[in-house]
Amino acid sequence: MGPVTAADIALDIRDLRKAFGGVRAVDGCTLAFPRGKISGLIGPNGSGKTTTFNLLTGVAMPDSGQIFYKGEDLAGMKPYQVFRRGITRTFQVTRVFREMTVLENMLCVTALNVSERVARARAYELIDFVSLTRLRGEYAGRLSYGQQKLLEFARALMTDPEVILLDEPAAGVNRTLLQDLLAHIHGLQERGKTIVIVEHDMNVIMNHCARIFVMDYGVKIAEGPPAEIQKDERVIEAYFGRRRG
C-alpha cells in the first residue's frame, strides 16, 4: 500500500531537498497543500519558494524527498509527465511564447487527442475569460507585461488542471488587472481547484489565502491561517530579523 493520502491533501511534500553546489535551496521541506483551497507560500528572498515550485513541476530534480499526488510520487518525473497528471504553473517572470500569437500560445497546450474544434472552443473561452479577445491574433511578445501574465494564467488552464501553482501572479500587474486576476483565482477555487500562490504582496496573501506556509532557509518555519501567521514570532523574525539585545 502506498502512502496515506488524506482526502483533504492535494500535494503532500515530504522532506524535500535540493542543493545547488553548496547552497541548500530546499533543505528538508515538508508541506501539505490542502485540496480545493488557496494556499500561500511566502518567505524572504532566497528562502526556496521558487525552487520548491521547480521541484514540484519537474523543472529541477530533487536530491531526495517525496512529492505525493493522488498516491503517486512525482519526485524525479519530467515536467511534461507532471503536467499530464493535472498540475500546472505560471512563472515569476512571464514565459509566454513571444513569436506566437495569443491563440497559438493557448492551442499548443492542448493534448493532441482533443479535437481541434474542442481545443479552439476552449482557447476562445479562456481568452475571453481573461479579456484578451481583441488581441487573439497578436504576437504574445507585443502584449503588455500585465497582459502576458493574464495570457500565461489562461494558458495554464487550457487542460483544466487540478492543481495550479502561481509564482508571483501580482508582480508587475496593475491594481485593476490584479483584482480581475484574483477574482479568476477565486472562481477556480470555487470549482474545486487547488491553488498555491507564491507572492511578496502581503495584501494578496493575507486577504486571499485560506492557509499560509512560510519558508526560510529552505525549510518550513510556520503554517496556519492568515491571522495566526501575522502574529507568528518566527515569521516576523524571518522577515525583519531578530532583535539584538
Binding site: 515536467p79 500546472t88 511564447f97 513569436e99 500569437t101 499548443c108 497546450v109 493532441l112 481545443a119 491574433g137
Partner: protein, 312 residues
Amino acid sequence: MATHEHVRNVLLLAALAVVLAVLPPALSVYLKSFVMFTMMYVVLALSWNIISGFTGYTSFGHVAFYGIGAYTCAVLVADHGWHWISTLVVAAALAVVVAVAIGYPVLRLKGPYFAIAMLGTAEGTRVVVTVWDSLTHGGLGISFPSVENSLETYYAMLVVMLMTILVAYIVGHSRFGIRLNAIREDEGAAEVLGINATAYKLAAFALSAMFPAVAGGIQAYKVLYIDPPSVFFVQITIAMALMSMLGGKGTVIGPVVGAVLLYSAQELTWVNFPTAHLIAYGLFIIVIARFMPRGLIGFAIDRGWVRKGMVH
C-alpha cells in the same frame, strides 16, 4: 485558418503541379535542369525549415542527409543493379534512422552548440564515406551507367517537392507545428505545459532529414557521378539556411520563395561571374540579418500584408 483558405491553398498547389507537369516539352535541356534544381532547393530549404525554422534548432549539417541519400542511390544502382526509384525509399528510411540515432544525443544541445555539432556530423559523415572504400569506392566516387534521364528525374523531383510542400503545410498548420514553435520559443516552458520536447524534436528532425535524402538520391542519378566532396558540400547546407532565412524561416511559404529567388539569382550570376554568387551569399546574409531578420514573409507580416501566425 478557415477551411476555404485551405481549399484555396491546396488548389494553388495543384495548379502549380499541373503547370510544372506540362512544362518540360516546352523547355530546353538547360531550362529543364534549371527548374529541376530549383525544385530540389525548395525541398532542401523546406526540410531544413522544419527543424531549424519551426523548432528553432539551427542545423549547419543538413547536407549529411542529402549526401547519405545520394550515396544510397549510387551504391544500390551502380553496384547492386537496383532500379533507381526503389533506392529512394531506402535513402529516406536510412536518413530517418541516422537522424534519430544522431538526434537523440545531439538535440540535447542548444543554439550554437547544436549548430556546431551538426557541422561536425556532416563532416564526419563525409570522412566515413571517403574512407569506407569497400562500400563507397572512397575518394574515387561512383559513376552511374550513362542514360538519358532528364525527364524522369524532373518528374521525380516534382513529386518529391509536392510531397515536401504538403508535409510542411500540414505541419505548419497543425497543433504539432505549434508545439514545435513552442519548443523554439521556450523549451522549458513548453515542457512544463505538457510537451514532450525530446519526442517532438526527434520527430521534427527525422521529418527534416527524410526529403533531403530523397532529393540527394534523385540529384545523384541526374548528374550520374558523385564523390564525397560534391554531395557533402557545406555550401549546400548554407544554401538551405539562407534560402529559408531570406524567404522567412518558420513559415511554410518563406523557404519556397527564398529557394526560388536565391537559386535563380545564383544561376543568373554564375555564368558571367563564376564566384559572384559567393559574394552575393555573403551580402544576402548581412542584408537579411540587418534589415529583415524574419525574412521577406516576416517583413510582409510586420506591414500587415500577410496574416500573423500559422493557424489563424
